[in-house]
Assembly symmetry: C2
Homo-oligomer: 407 residues x 2
């Protein structure tokens, strides 16, 4: 009997997880939708949704009352404020932080540009803490915060949040997760992932690749990173280092790269190279890239030419990806998402020259829908996953604890 009780409790927790996952990934939906999606009976859905609403994780009502257009039938909707994540994106040119609620809504966000150049991990950790402390206090409650997720432009060891190398930040073996856990002083998990690994997660859940099972997200900024979904699951490799397309050799004996190798894709298509090709100073950062695309939109032939050449080199790199991974979708993020409308033909031509016909015929190249928010939203997914996996852990009664403060 004890075994049976344990088993039925295990099943209850798994079923609650299935419902929360459906609502988190696919948005608000009716109980009938949940029956179809989870395979649970109507009465099981009723009881479990009842638990979630009683615990404050969900509300139920006509779509119109929930503030959304569409069908008038009652829908179940997660309460974003009930479980939150602090998401951080450490790019080379900028820092962002956000509070993201269960269901993926951004409740508050802050972003600062950062001067280019190497900076100690401790200094950046301080800046991140400052940025987080600037977020509205009402969204930072100890009883709702599930964790902190951090996307970073570097090679990350998932197990302990150490950034093995981030050539464009000048880091080596930087214990970023540990540092932030200590400086924030919060009793929640602090998880670190590569920007592109997290970007692809967000694009698959709520961006340009919803429902796709074989996707590559390629993110361009100063460096180039990629995140891979294969067979519907993140491909992180044996230690979380997978997807380093940026240091992929495309020009033998090419220009030296910050990573120590040379002729890397990143040196051919990164933001600095694009600026230099367009005759602009290499180190203009975010505002330089903005100016470059404004000039392109205005028809500046030198800039359009620089974009075309960059697109061609990018397409050559993507060809290797297509041959190797046979994806259905390539999502271009960051700089590359902005490049696509101007250079689509050149990218596709270069890909076609280097890709086998069969996989080429199946692949589509699209721009990110989430733009700069993709890695940030992916970082939130990282931090929310434990709650989605076991929402029952959040259904116990809590006291009204005060807002979080950092040490």
């Amino acid at each position: 009997v004890r075994d049976l009780g344990q088993r039925s409790e295990t099943i209850r927790r798994a079923n609650l997880s299935a419902i929360v996952r459906a609502l988190h990934e696919d948005g608000p939906q009716s109980r009938s939708d949940l029956v179809a999606r989870t395979g649970l009976t109507r009465s099981a859905i009723r009881a479990l949704v009842g638990e979630l609403t009683a615990g404050g994780l969900a509300v139920e009502g006509p779509a119109v009352l929930l503030g959304r257009p569409g069908r008038p039938s009652p829908e179940v909707c997660l309460v974003p404020e009930a479980v939150t994540a602090v998401a951080v994106f450490i790019a080379v040119d900028s820092l962002s932080a956000a509070v993201v609620g269960l269901g993926g809504a951004i409740l508050a966000e802050a972003r600062v540009e950062r001067p280019r150049g190497h900076m100690e991990v401790g200094v950046i950790a301080d800046d991140v803490v400052g940025l987080i402390n600037g977020l509205p206090r009402r969204h930072l409650h100890a009883d709702t915060l599930a964790g902190v997720g951090i996307a970073v432009a570097g090679v990350v060891r998932r197990a302990d949040g150490v950034v093995e190398t981030a050539p464009n930040l000048g880091w080596r073996a930087a214990p970023l997760g540990e540092l932030l856990r200590h400086r924030l002083g919060w009793d929640v998990p602090v998880l670190v992932g590569n920007e592109a690994d997290l970007g692809v997660l967000a694009e698959v859940r709520r961006g340009a690749a919803i429902g796709a099972t074989d996707v590559i997200y390629v993110h361009g900024e100063v460096g180039v990173g990629s995140g891979i979904i294969a067979n519907g699951r993140p491909l992180n490799g044996s230690a979380g280092y997978a997807g380093e397309i940026g240091h992929f050799p495309v020009v033998p004996d090419g220009a030296p790269c910050r990573c120590g190798s040379y002729g890397c894709l990143e040196t051919e298509v990164g933001g600095e190279t694009l600026l230099a090709r367009a005759g602009m100073p290499r180190d203009l950062g975010v505002s330089g890239i903005d100016a470059l695309f404004a000039a392109a939109a205005a028809g500046d032939p030198v800039v359009l030419d620089a974009i075309a050449i960059t697109g061609e080199r990018l397409g050559t790199g993507l060809a290797g990806f297509v041959n190797m991974l046979n994806p259905r979708l390539i999502v271009l993020g960051g700089l590359f998402g902005r490049l696509l409308p101007f250079a689509e033909a050149r990218i596709l031509q270069a890909m076609a020259r280097r890709t086998l016909a069969a996989p080429l015929a199946l692949v589509e190249v699209v721009a990110s829908k989430l733009g700069e928010d993709a890695p940030l939203l992916g970082a939130a997914e990282l931090a929310l996953e434990a709650v989605i996996e076991d929402p029952a852990s959040r259904l116990e009664e809590r006291d009204d604890t005060p807002a979080l403060a950092t040490a």
Copy 2:
């Protein structure tokens, strides 16, 4: 009650599958081993093993009576003859066929060299049927044959067994599966896969990569193919085309490749290029490669130099793989497995120059343990999988039907 009955039947089938999979993948083992491996109770294991032995799929006895050395405790052992697959490997230089029993034992095998050059798929299908018909009749019984698995040196659409392209065989959109199904006239599934995709499956199950979850198998013959296991599962891509490292660009504006592109890895490290580099005629095939490695073993400096250059180019190609997929293990098969002992240092040096430090530190390069049999054993896995997934389907009583004959 009907639901419960259906459910308990589903559970019985799943448990039988877990036991057969354990025995098939890890070899004969005691009931205690099966308890540990499957998590089932001792009494459940007893009943299910009883079903398997009553149905003739397994036998149980002291290891010594089963003809194997080792522990005297009773072990459960699959009966290879009870369920068999016909496995075929269509390489560019040779054809092989084998009967492989449940558990992975090769019961009979035949191989013929093939003259180099393009040959219509229909002609090769006839040769394959001839080779299969030459296998001992006693191993070809309709009541034990689970299916036919075919490994081929080409890009395969898994869904229907069409070889989309096999540049080294001169095929395009060749309906290989359909043709062989028709010519054999047997009422069993005929499944087709890429040689390297199947090679890696075999190496992980019973070769150089047992138990590894992130593995790349790179197979060299005339062409170069690769098979990927990521997160413990085969990475086939959206349509089965993944792993085409052979057409990976390594030398921009390099020599034209049969695939239509140029500067492909395959043109730099394939068997013909290796022979040419060693000053031997390009088209010597299997016997030429044998002669080349005999000369290398005898210390021929020209041949050793050709091997070193080839190893270096191969290492450059592998670097891209390591950066992209962060594998723990690279298994070199076919030609490359033979090359490794002579060129290990050059391969590793070239990899190190192009690979990021973090993933490089984790990866090991080893030679295939199954050699030329890897794709063949992988093809057998493909054909046996349905029985391993549902062995209960094989436990019904069968008549003693005569040996299979082809039309």
